[in-house]
């Protein structure tokens, strides 16, 4: 086996083979990623009659129709579920980002003993299993009569996202030079004003990444909503839609249509805020 030896392949051929291998790998992985997304889009935009004509699944689109979306609108509570999701996602994103900004700034600018313990506590809760937290939260919310409330789910979702948003802001504020603030103090600005006018604008990429993360956690959540919101009226879109598969009146067309709808907000984020998203990854990964 002398493949590595130049007597078999000269340097050029070897390089060419490597490029071919490279493109084949890229193609295989791309296919693996694209096929499910393609299926979703095509099935969502085609009537089931066209998709399943002839007993086999036809995946070359023959038509574009809003039929599946209309069925969702008429026969399901999709709009209500969506509204619930938007409310808790927005509240949790705001709360998580606000806590992260306040805590991140404090943790960066004040010296105190036990900082490294605080850091460990934050990271430890970041790795925590939502299901383990959801059980006691369920019992506590139950005894307080808070099950099926936006407040409870917002709190539960923020519990999941805050450890990482705090960590991210904590790291981000360290890259903001203290001299910036000192310059403002010297000119007589109050500390609060300094934070508001000098620090926050500089820290914008940081809290945008934090907000994206909090948004993704809340929008993606199934576990917490499934446990905290057991009332049909209060289902989020993920819980509500998860029950579609068991309903006789709803088929793959409508299921893929709702999938497409759920995917739109994250898709818009990927489109416009990709840079911030990647920054979140580089700070130590997202869940």
């Amino acid at each position: 086996m002398a493949t590595a030896d130049s007597s078999w392949f000269d340097h050029r051929t070897q390089q060419r083979l490597q490029r071919v291998a490279l493109y084949i790998t890229a193609l295989l992985i791309t296919t693996f990623v694209i096929v499910p997304v393609y299926l979703m889009v095509v099935i969502a935009l085609q009537s089931p009659a066209a998709t399943f004509a002839g007993g086999q699944v036809n995946l070359i689109p023959k038509e574009i129709t809003a039929r599946n979306f209309l069925v969702l609108l008429e026969t399901t509570e999709t709009v209500r579920y969506f509204t619930n999701s938007l409310i808790v996602t927005a509240s949790s994103t705001l709360l998580s980002t606000a806590i992260a900004i306040a805590a991140g700034y404090g943790l960066t600018r004040f010296e105190f003993r036990g900082k490294s313990i605080a850091a460990r506590a934050v990271l430890f809760s970041y790795m925590f299993s939502p299901i383990v937290l959801a059980i006691p939260l369920y019992v506590i919310f139950f005894s307080l009569g808070l099950l099926n409330s936006y407040f409870a789910l917002t709190l539960a979702l923020t519990a999941i996202s805050a450890p990482f948003t705090i960590w991210l802001m904590w790291q981000y504020f360290q890259t903001v030079p203290l001299s910036l603030e000192e310059a403002a103090w010297v000119r007589g600005a109050s500390r609060f004003r300094t934070v508001w006018d000098v620090v926050l604008p500089v820290a914008r990429p940081g809290y945008i990444s934090a907000a994206i993360f909090a948004f993704a956690v809340a929008w993606n959540d199934f576990t917490m909503a499934r446990i905290v919101m057991s009332n049909d009226d209060m289902y989020t879109i993920n819980v509500g839609a998860s029950l579609f598969l068991d309903r006789v009146t709803i088929g793959w067309g409508e299921t893929m249509a709702v999938s497409l709808l759920i995917s739109i907000p994250p898709f818009l984020i990927a489109l416009f805020l990709q840079r911030y998203l990647l920054q979140g990854f580089s700070v130590g990964g997202l869940e």
């Binding site: 490279l22 096929v35 805590a103 460990r120 790795m127 000192e182 998203l277 580089s282």
Partner: protein, 303 residues
């Protein structure tokens, strides 16, 4: 960084610091107490009782003993380990493969990178729907392809067959989470100085030698992080398995998180559910010790 007032004055002497301290720490502390400390303490407390919600009877470690002595517990633990190891390992291999490809200057590399964000951003439920469709026994694309290729005689119900349930759940999970490994590894790859490769080439190193001696040492830390952190998360994952198999068929895909849910909401036994949650808590604490020893991640914020 930040050599300035902080070095010369104590925080108290900086104007307005006391209330700023209040503004920044009170929310943090209040939040942590409300959503973390109280629930965890409450759960650990509940785990010592039989019927803790309505009619508590103190049983000490009874719930733990009964869980740990049940033979099925070890099966659930095993399922969790299999699921965590398989999903993490495959995500790593796929993510590394693609990161190496994108890191080479190939045409369409940028588009590939953007593409990899999608599985990660698509909500889990959407991913589940896609794969339930692909693997469906009646109209599933995969069965259609396999049958047309003559590889199988009759369709396979992947999510409800003993042999295939776990692999199907693993593939679904890997599809979503390979991008996690991809982005972390790509960031590390792009931080490697290209001169290193140039020098290796001049000295006559083969591609493999360059990979082994330059690329791998640079990726070691990232790979460890992925194995450990991703492994912990997959071990604890609930939604994917619940939404695909509910832990079935039989108990083939019942992992510890699924079991916690079943005990709490199907068997309505919060004593045992919180005891199992407690066991998972201690397993996580163990893993966290390894994580902190290996990486000292808190050093990144200790100044």
């Amino acid at each position: 960084m930040s050599v300035g007032l902080r070095e010369r004055f104590s925080p108290r002497e900086l104007d307005g610091s006391a209330w700023l301290l209040l503004v920044s720490f009170v929310p943090l502390v209040a939040f942590f107490v409300v959503v973390w400390v109280v629930p965890i303490a409450y759960a650990l407390g509940m785990s010592l009782f039989e019927n803790p919600v309505r009619n508590p009877v103190f049983v000490g470690l009874g719930n733990y003993v009964s869980l740990l002595t049940e033979p099925s517990f070890w099966g659930f633990l095993w399922n969790s380990v299999v699921y965590a190891v398989a999903t993490t390992g495959l995500s790593l291999v796929l993510g590394l493969g693609l990161a190496l490809v994108v890191n080479q200057k190939i045409r369409g590399g940028g588009a590939l990178r953007t593409l990899m964000i999608f599985p990660y951003l698509l909500p889990t439920l959407v991913v589940i729907f896609m794969w339930k469709f692909i693997l469906d026994p009646n109209i599933g694309i995969l069965n259609q392809v396999l049958e047309n290729a003559g590889l199988i005689d009759e369709p396979i119900a992947f999510f409800s067959t003993l042999t295939w349930a776990m692999p199907a759940v693993v593939i679904t999970s890997v599809w979503k989470f390979a991008s996690f490994a991809f982005f972390i590894l790509l960031a590390r790859l792009q931080a490697i100085d290209p001169d290193l490769y140039e020098r290796a080439r001049v000295e006559g190193a083969t591609t493999w030698q360059a990979f082994r001696d330059i690329t791998m040492p640079h990726l070691r830390g990232a790979i460890l992080i992925i194995l450990l952190v991703r492994g912990i998360w997959m071990f604890n994952k609930f939604d994917i398995i619940y939404l695909t198999t509910r832990g079935g068929p039989l108990q083939e895909t019942t992992t510890l998180p699924i079991r916690v849910f079943q005990i709490a909401f199907n068997e309505v036994d919060f004593g045992r559910a919180t005891a199992l949650a407690g066991i998972m808590f201690f397993l996580l604490a163990g893993a966290a010790v390894v994580y902190f020893r290996t990486f000292a991640p808190e050093a990144e914020v200790s100044h």
